[in-house]
Symmetry: C2
Subunit: 199 residues, 2 copies
């Protein structure tokens, strides 16, 4: 039956996501995508249908990756739930100040979220998934006796989703690692740790 493809869709989507993440949707040209993926224009067009479709694929892929990465970090049983959240936030502060951008998710939301229903939907889904992971970690901390069981785990989870988005925004302007770390450490104080004397 015909000639097989020389590429893996997942690789192409990943490369395209990097290009979109670097220049935004509007700022990325088909030329950029050809360069980033190594495919020809026509191959991109055949396989994905066009710039917009490829973008949505990349966005969903990046979102799924971000969710999986958070799940791995907050699900690692070698530390207590509270330690995992703390470690996660500090690591994020460092990553963001290294110029590492996993922020296609956030960038797309801000650039297109209020105008493109598909992007808004992907963003809401991503927020929801992230929130569930934070929430489970908070609940684990409550069950383990680290946090007050009376606390609203969902509200805390939403809070962390918002805060980490804000840290990404600050990071993209070049706010220093010191300041991002301070923000991370400050945010932890919303958690009602049991057995602590309030400062």
């Amino acid at each position: 039956m015909g000639r097989p493809r020389k590429f893996l869709e997942t690789d192409v989507v990943h490369s395209a996501g990097k290009a979109f993440s670097d220049h935004g949707y509007g700022g990325t040209t088909l030329e950029d995508l050809v360069g980033a993926t190594g495919l020809g224009k026509q191959s991109l067009y055949n396989a994905f249908g066009g710039k917009r479709e490829l973008f949505l694929r990349a966005l969903n892929s990046d979102t799924a990756d971000a969710v999986a990465a958070l799940d791995a970090e907050l699900g690692d049983e070698s530390a207590t739930p509270l330690e995992r959240i703390r470690g996660h936030l500090i690591k994020l502060a460092i990553t963001l100040s290294d110029g590492d951008k996993g922020i296609l998710f956030t960038k797309a939301t801000v650039e297109l979220g209020d105008r493109d229903p598909d992007v808004a939907q992907a963003a809401l889904q991503g927020f929801h998934d992230l929130e569930q992971i934070y929430r489970q970690c908070v609940i684990d901390a409550q069950d383990g006796g680290e946090l007050d069981p009376a606390a609203d785990a969902s509200a805390l989870a939403s809070f962390f989703v918002a805060l980490t988005r804000g840290m990404e925004v600050l990071g993209s302007a070049g706010v220093s690692r010191t300041e991002l770390t301070a923000i991370a450490l400050t945010s932890i104080k919303v958690l009602p740790v049991l057995g602590d004397v309030p400062a």
Copy 2:
């Protein structure tokens, strides 16, 4: 001595800012700006130099407005500092879920901050100014006996800058007012209120 202008620069900058806020920098065409401002292309070019310069003017103007608005809200002496912060965050949650976008500042940072030094600089300046206002309000709360004087006012201020940016991101994806309000209320718990029994 030549022919006088038919417009005020401040009006044009304001209208242009709305256009940029709606479609982003890359997504706004000169045509859009002509429509939004009512001026001709050449008039825009004469008065501002081009799309990019006009954008920077609009960005700086919007940033200054945002700083002034926060200053007014947190400097209003008819309530205690703590009540002002609380009211400010709740109002922000409502404003964002109304689709009201004062978010040119945040949008520009995310879209261009990691690639355009002028935008990054404007963003950093804006963050700094906002932080100073939050900081002063926290200090006032400490002086007034509402908050623990030992708390790091600067860290708390940076935290609120990050959190409010994150709320704007969530708002542009359409996160509900309920959830945004919950985030606002949760964030207040970072504040070391005196005389409170920790939950």
